[in-house]
Symmetry: C2
Subunit: 187 residues, 2 copies
């Protein structure tokens, strides 16, 4: 309650607001950010996904347009299929031999806001002209990404509160290079 003492009280609300019980959980909470990064966190994965969102579907096409070697493309695409983000389906054009194609699953399509958020930030904050301009097909308006609550209120960083749901332990072994957990001081 006496948090007006210093410039920066320990549990200050800075942006996303206060996480309830900020100090009661494990420091390296296994947040959804990390879960997501475990699946699509590599550069090549995101770039390949970008190319598939652009309409690519054939192996060679994807690798070439993404600018990655076929070896990397092979590895990443398989991982993305395993992660449930892509589907590999055989198809056959008339007169052609059978081929495989990569298509987004429902989970893959749900990555649309992630990609657009990255694009939009890059457009606004990495200098120079945005290399590609995205517009709404129907009205021509420029795309943007917004954080909203389910009642439609527009949310800025700072208007939100995070609450642990209970299962916040990280199942993976902890790091230790002094970034370790506080020495076991039970309360």
């Amino acid at each position: 309650m006496n948090n007006m003492a210093g410039h920066h009280p320990t549990d200050e609300v800075t942006l996303t607001g206060r996480l309830a019980d900020r100090d009661s959980w494990d420091p390296s909470t296994w947040c959804s950010v990390e879960r997501t990064l475990d699946l699509i966190g590599t550069r090549s994965a995101l770039i390949l996904l970008r190319e598939i969102f652009y309409g690519g579907h054939r192996f060679d096409d994807l690798a070439r347009r993404a600018g990655v070697t076929d070896a990397i493309a092979s590895k990443r695409l398989r991982e993305l299929v395993d992660a449930g983000v892509l589907d590999r389906r055989p198809y056959q054009e008339p007169g052609q031999r059978p081929r495989q194609e990569y298509v987004l699953t429902e989970a893959g399509r749900a990555l649309f806001p992630v990609l657009i958020a990255l694009v939009r930030w890059g457009d606004a904050h990495t200098g120079g002209e945005p290399p590609i301009r995205f517009t709404h097909r129907d009205c021509g308006g420029a795309l943007d990404v917004k954080v909203l609550c389910e009642h439609g209120h527009e949310i800025e960083a700072g208007d939100t509160i995070g609450t642990a749901t209970g299962d916040t332990r990280d199942p993976r072994p902890p790091a230790k290079g002094r970034a370790r957990r506080r020495p076991p001081q039970q309360e």
Copy 2:
């Protein structure tokens, strides 16, 4: 014009719609996605940013909560400062010695939708209970990320068209492991 021949015409509109002149630009277009990933594309960078959005500001606190070693934290934080995403400012609480704190710049705060998009996707698609539930402070509604056009229309993947603005050459040296550009066949 005769693009109804096969199951997958070359410039088919799959999701983000057709990129105007899909084949007229360099395969590895230097998209804003890549520009962004160059700055904040590492796992540790995103996790540290998450912690700062959660309200962290002191070095030790950030490293511990992010679960990364101090060496990595040092390196990443410096990079993020150089990238203009964070500011390192000296501050002093009364009675304490001077310290440094890390705060988000305007560009850093603009990463809010990126983080939330990652969180939301992880919540919905990585199984198990979301470890943290974010709500709007004012109304308690759950957060979501939406892609909208500037006229407020909600955009699904597939409702959008990307158009190259002209400067789409990648300034970096090309990859070559067969993912190379097509052999120099000038038109």
